[in-house]
Amino acid sequence: MSVGNLFDTSSNAVDDQEYEGAYLRCVLFQLDAEKYGINVQRVREVLRVGEIRPVPGSPFDVLGVINVRGVIVTVLDTRQFFKLYSGPITDLSRIIIIEQQDQVLGLLVDEVEEVRDIQESRIDSVGTLSDDSNNRMIQGIAHIASEGVIIIIEPEKFFDGFNVGHGVGVPASSVIDSGDDDLF
């Protein structure tokens, strides 16, 4: 299930106002009361929520792992990043799979709406309102007349920091996936 199949990007893709200049194509999703956008280039796919397998002892923002066609993918409780209470998983809940180089991550969101082009000129930097950690997740804010505010997030930040919550172990699997070929 790819984004291309999921959303009809031809209609609705352009903001209703007159259109000029560079734009950012975003996947829009809902989290609690707010609307968020994430650069579509960083999104690999959007999945329905199946079974999320919890991993005891994992960092607090990790919900667990899922099986995406044989690959184990970590799913984050996205609400935690924006200091929101965890919400229930509903029929509308989705997992957005984002990627960065070789890494992939799943973001649990309340609802995925559409793919939308947002004029870059409409995106304002949030500046230094505060140096909260969740502030660093935010790339900017777009004000759209018809529907208010869209918070544009930076997917890179999800991959950053607090990787291992409890020390660095050397699992036996590290032997498996080392592709290094030391000849000498």
Binding site: E51, R53, P54, V55, P56, G57, S58, P59, V62, V65, I66, N67, R69, G70, V71, I72, V73, T74, L76, Q103, V104, L105, F159, F162, N163, V164, G165, H166, G167, V168, G169, V170, P171, A172, S173, S174, V175, I176, D177, S178, G179, D181, D182, L183, F184
Partner: protein, 648 residues
Amino acid sequence: MDEDILQDFLVEAGELYENLNEQLVELEHNPLDASLLNAIFRSFHTIKGGAGFIGVTPLIELCHRAENLFDKIRNGERQYSSENADVILQAYDSVGVMLHSLQLGERVLEDVDPVLLAALDAAVKGTEMPVSAVAPASAASVKLKLPDGVDMDADISDEEFEALLNQRDQLITHEPTTKPVATTSPTAVPAGLDPDGEISEAEFEAMLASLNAGKTAQESALDAARAVGVLPTPSAVVEEVVAPVAKLPAPVKPNKLMNKPSEEVESTVRVDTKRLDEIMNLVGELVLVRNRLLNLRSTLQNEEIAAAVANLDHVTMDLQASVMKTRMQPVKKVFGRFPRVIRDLARKLGKEIDLEMLGEETDLDKNLVEALADPLVHLVRNAVDHGVEMPEDRIKAGKPRIGKLVLAAQQEGDHILLTITDDGKGMDAALLRRKAVEKGLVDEVTAAQLDDKAAFDLILLPGFSTKTEITDVSGRGVGMDVVKSTITKLNGGIDIYSVMGEGTRFNIRVPLTLAILPTLMVGIGAFNYAIPLTAVQEIFDYDAAQTNKIDGRMMVRLRVRSIPLYFMREWLSPSTHGGDLDHSKVVIVNVGMAVIGLIVDHVRGQEEVVIKPLGTKLQGAKGYAGATITGDGRIALILDLPGMMSRF
């Protein structure tokens, strides 16, 4: 320097380098083996060619000399004497060092030790070792360097490269050549005539100019004139130009022609192991889909579907086997380095040792091959150092003067058995017991109870070393326990057999592949966990009557022992306390040297699983070796017992 080309070069040179190791040691036994000499000559030649292509001057210097020496040897002009062998092996080692630094990302290498170059030159000339200081000095001053402004990526043909090097050699040695015209001319000819020659005349000219810098002004002027003029002004030059052209196709130097890559038939393809892992992964998925279809088949009761699924079943099985095979490499990859290790060590210690290798063609997983290399080297060094006696002692003991070491590999079902056997003095169980007590590793009572076999296992304990003096060969006491832990990590085992005066044998058993792990699947709460089967000792029903609380810790009585219990439910979700343990099971496992009991809710049975890394942010999570996908498509976490213990 083009990185892609460099990487290709490193892979190719690395393989040649590995083969050379074995060939060089073998050559010492058969110094007149022509095909071996040719092979060695070609290897140095090929490495030189590649080094020239990427412009690593020190490597060229070295390989060129080694190649020259072997050219003389195979033509019978020189002998592969043990002096020459020492020089060559030294050269070989510095080739290794250079390749290694290139691999580590260094791009500017240090010059070769001039003493080594001089020794090589001397060997080529057939004079005794440290010749006049003239040779190294000039070797250092006249470097084969591509002049500035020359495109490093430009192709230069083999012939041109050879000619440049030969020309340089003449400059260095100042030996009057019998036919100076014939030797210099090939440099000029290919520029215009060689089909591979993409080098421009201007570049070539510049190159020659730099080479000729060592010559007198008149000479270089003449050379420049020659170079510029593929132009046939003086009649003498015309002859030069024509003569080598006629020569080239003739089999004057067949070795050089054979060496052209274009004439080798390629039957292999290099594939990134990551890609193989991907394929393995997908095949694993296919197996799961097949399993689901097999389940459906029995419920649907449709004959046509049943036939198709049966077919799919077979194809999937074959596919899985074939993909596994692509990851396999012969044990030879590890064994190959031992002849040299043993030769060097035996020479240093003054021992005489014959090495026999059996079952080198046995295949095992590529990752295993790499992981086993260090432990095996350690065991082999130990066998040479501690096992085999000095020749005099052997004769006194009524044994043949030359010691024997046998390295063998064979497949045993789904395992590989590696054995290292020596006919040395064997291990003294009584001495081992005493040493272990002295070092405080075990108490006296325990030591006395150990049978001989268990006493041999004492050497696998951390901090055990029977050698009182530390040598640079072995005997620092940090080896055997590392060997043991490495092999344990590979889900393998090690057994030691020894008879005083007759020798020692190490048996190492490792699984054929690391990709598939036999596990015991257990249920804790609503979820499944996999425990590596090699650790599991036994399983029994939990019975509260058999437990005691000793010093604040729950223990279970098992025959004559009390074993600490770990309640997995509490570890996995600390909030759940106690609860109903009526139908729980106790799984007794080995963790390192300790034995513990894990309390789990269900035991689901034995299952072979494909290990998958946990996702981003969880890769270092303690207590897990990874995850796997079970037959029903759900995820089970694979427990890493030592990691888990440290978190408890």
